[in-house]
Amino acid sequence: MVLFVSQVVQAQAPRTEGWLSSPGIVGTMVLLAIVLFIAALIITAQVGRMLKETKDKRAARLAEAELSAEELARKKAARQYKLRGDELGGRAPAFDAKALVAKASSEPDNPLVEEKIYSRARLEVAPELQRVVVWYLAASVFWLVFGTLVGQYLGLKFVWPDLDGQAWLSFGRLRPVHTNTVFWGWASLAMIGLGYFVIARTSATRIFSYRLAWWGFGLINGSVVIGNLCLMAGINNGGGEYREYIWPVALLFALGLMITFRNFYGTVKRRTIPEIYVSNWYILAALVWTIVLATIGYLPWYQDGLGETVIQGYYMHMGVGMWFMTFSLGLTYYYLPSALNKPIYSYSLGVLAFWTQMLFYTLIGTHHFIFAPLPWWLQTVAIVFSVGMFIPVFAGTTNFLMTMRGSWSAIGKSYVLPFFLVGVVYYCVGSSQGSFQALRFTNHIWHFTDFNVAHSHMTMYGIITFLMWACMYALLPKVTGREPSQVLVGAHFWLAFIGLFAYTVSLMAGGTVKGLAWMEGVPFIETVIATRGYWAWRAIGGSLMFLSHLLFAWNFYCMVRKPRAVTQHAALEPQMA
């Protein structure tokens, strides 16, 4: 009999000294550097502006020293000039005939940071559409706070495993509550809500049916509520990631998608302009693909034995790629150019990215099961097309960055654009990192470790969530006419960004340490103990992220609440209606 222990003991320990120079690792390091570089860019832009102001002042002082006595006297007189105090007063009412003054205030809103530009135009939106958008987004914000509260609690359990002894709060049951809530509750409802606006706006028509919109709202929210209750009660579909809801619950969600598709398609069909804007390509396709995906994921006839594993790899990857990524890209193709007030850099690059997204993304699900007992050809196809993903990713990134080009100074002056910038950069970084992780060597080190968790947060949070925030901050003030506090938006941004960075870097480092230790044959429990410190940092990063969501929820409330009676201060603000 072959005895397993003998092999443990006589195992050929892999040599891991050269790991730092392997392509996947180097690639990931470069990607991390890109994120840091962008953060540095935003900060240096701000600091540089302040320094320049100081320098200008000093230069003016130096120039003064070289002036002749006469000039000096003139300058002195100029300095001593005092207003009488009634120049701008007078009794006649002031009138800004060309509406050049956006805002007049004698007291700035905050003394600490530069004020950002206020949302200029208010869009005319049908009140029914406004209600649909606001309610979808409100529900999504609720699920974001709830889902990340659960996530934060789970993160703490790595540090304090004995936090509670309740069955329905145990790690195994709550983990899918966290993932499914942020997937189907937060991101999905946010995307559909934002999509309703895009689809009506770019088709220059009204929504096909508001009633259908409310049906979709009820079905999707219902599936998340019932699904989570089931999971906490220990009822799940079989533990496959993102299809933990049993099929009757998932069916509610799928019906919600079908209704949404019907509604979007009907709206596009009655558009009053001949072309279908590229956003709508992505949005319609995301809905169609996800309906197919849910069907394939839940039909039973090919899922016994390892058939289930093939479907699992396909389903979990396509769930992210064909639903969240595709839909979010569609939204970005509308909201980013509209926030910059200029057209997308290249329309045809967007179309190229669309088709390559479909071709390459669909084929790479098995890269979640590299070295598993699945057919080797399936694994190789997945790896090859994972690398192929560079094409749609770079096409998309280039398109967005080139659209932003020439408007960099606008980033410092806007509270919306930094969210877009982070989302786009993470789109490039997170997706490329995923491709690197699919390579067999990096998979060797990272698979099964906490690195996976870092990757999924880089993508679902760094890309999707940041883009959703960008779109919401871009859209809501224009629709409701109410802006959030700029300081709180800034706090939201930096807490989320720094939190995400701490979260991902700690888990990437911890995952690498763990994977290398496994390769060297270190006893398992020692690698668990060695990860403790990284888990603590993850919990800290997660806390910052969660805190930022509370701020975001408040900002959201400020953007959508009913206007109060006009006060003195509010009367001074530009009313864009």
């Binding site: 222990v5 195992a11 145990s170 079989g238 990631e241 058939g307 390769m519």
Partner: protein
């Protein structure tokens, strides 16, 4: 000519069609093929009804969130099984569970806890499994696994019935004097399932796929003493096999698992008794959980190595055993395990 920029019906139809075709090729067809071309290994026992119920508990508690069940065909996974997993291994366990629940996703994607492919072999002690579920940190100090207290009941000592599985710890240790902790049916089912997790042997004559060496792999030198005796590393075997119950410092767990440090049996001049216990198991002392036999799990050389490690470490000091002694005892105690 189709103009997708203006023709929403064809845009949607083409997206749907191409995606459905790709999905069929990359997912549905391979899945169907794998499902239909699969059979159990000849030596694989069918799952009992109790093991199936245990699997249902495993799924309900989301164990696959942290535990994989796949030995990949790479060197580093040798810790978890004698051979890489093959599709047949999942023939019985990965079947649709019922109308509501699909075939369980047992392979998993995270190894926050150890792989469980072979846990029934590695940790064959029911007492250990029970205690570990009740409070993982009682038996594994650094563990971050949740406690599954709701799978157990605390009852008065008097109320314990015959046939109950009572945890091998006293009420005082649990902070509840006069009480006993007994396993619920769910805990018994789950442990039955876990203990059934063993890699089935391949039919004789069939060679398992080799493990792929890790990039740049080279040999790791054995400790000098082990090389001298021509034996494997006893310390490594101890931490793999024995330390879970007897603890890494060999001091045991009072009331559950006996200490090996300073144990009279370990320190006996003749290793015969110790060899007997390791080969055939031991359940003579009611205050401790039973020791599972290791004859089928370890070779003569490995048993010799680990016995010598224990007899010369943890403050113990007894002369080494020889492989011959182990071999002759095996012929008496467990002749069915003698390698061909």
């Amino acid at each position: 000519m189709i103009d997708l920029h203006k023709d929403q019906a064809n845009l949607v139809n083409i997206s749907l069609l191409v995606f459905a075709l790709l999905s069929t090729g990359i997912a549905v067809a391979p899945a169907l093929h794998l499902q239909d071309n699969n059979a159990p290994l000849p030596g694989m026992p069918k799952m009992t009804a109790q093991e199936r119920r245990g699997l249902a508990v495993y799924v309900a508690e989301g164990c696959m969130g942290c535990h994989t069940q796949q030995v990949r065909n790479i060197e580093m996974d040798k810790t978890w099984g004698a051979r890489p997993s093959i599709p047949s291994d999942y023939y019985y366990s990965k079947q649709r569970m019922n109308v509501w629940q699909q075939s369980p996703s047992l392979l998993g994607s995270e190894r926050t806890g150890p792989d469980l492919t072979n846990v029934g072999q590695r940790q064959a002690s029911e007492a250990w499994q029970m205690l570990h579920l009740y409070d993982p940190r009682m038996v594994v100090k650094g563990s971050v696994m949740p406690r599954y207290g709701w799978l157990f009941q605390t009852v008065d000592s008097a109320a314990v019935q015959s046939g109950d599985v009572v945890l091998p710890v006293t009420g005082e240790q649990l902070g509840a004097p006069g009480k006993k902790v007994v396993a619920t049916q769910k805990a018994k089912d789950l442990v039955a399932y876990l203990l059934s997790l063993k890699q089935a042997p391949l039919p004789s004559g069939v060679q398992a796929d080799a493990f792929l060496p890790s990039p740049g792999a080279d040999g790791k030198p054995l400790p000098a003493a082990a090389v001298e005796a021509g034996l494997p590393d006893g310390g490594a075997i101890f931490s793999q096999v024995c330390a879970a119950c007897h603890q890494p410092d060999a001091k045991g767990l009072p009331g559950a698992f006996p200490a090996l440090a300073g144990s009279p049996i370990v320190n006996e001049e003749s290793p015969a008794k110790m060899i007997d216990i390791v080969l055939g198991g031991y359940d003579a002392r009611p205050e401790f959980g039973p020791m599972p036999p290791q004859a089928a799990n370890l070779s003569d050389a490995e048993i010799t190595a680990v016995i010598n490690h224990v007899r010369s470490s943890f403050g113990n000091n007894a002369p080494p055993a020889t492989q011959e002694a182990v071999r002759s005892q095996r012929a008496v105690i467990a002749p069915e395990t003698i390698a061909e």
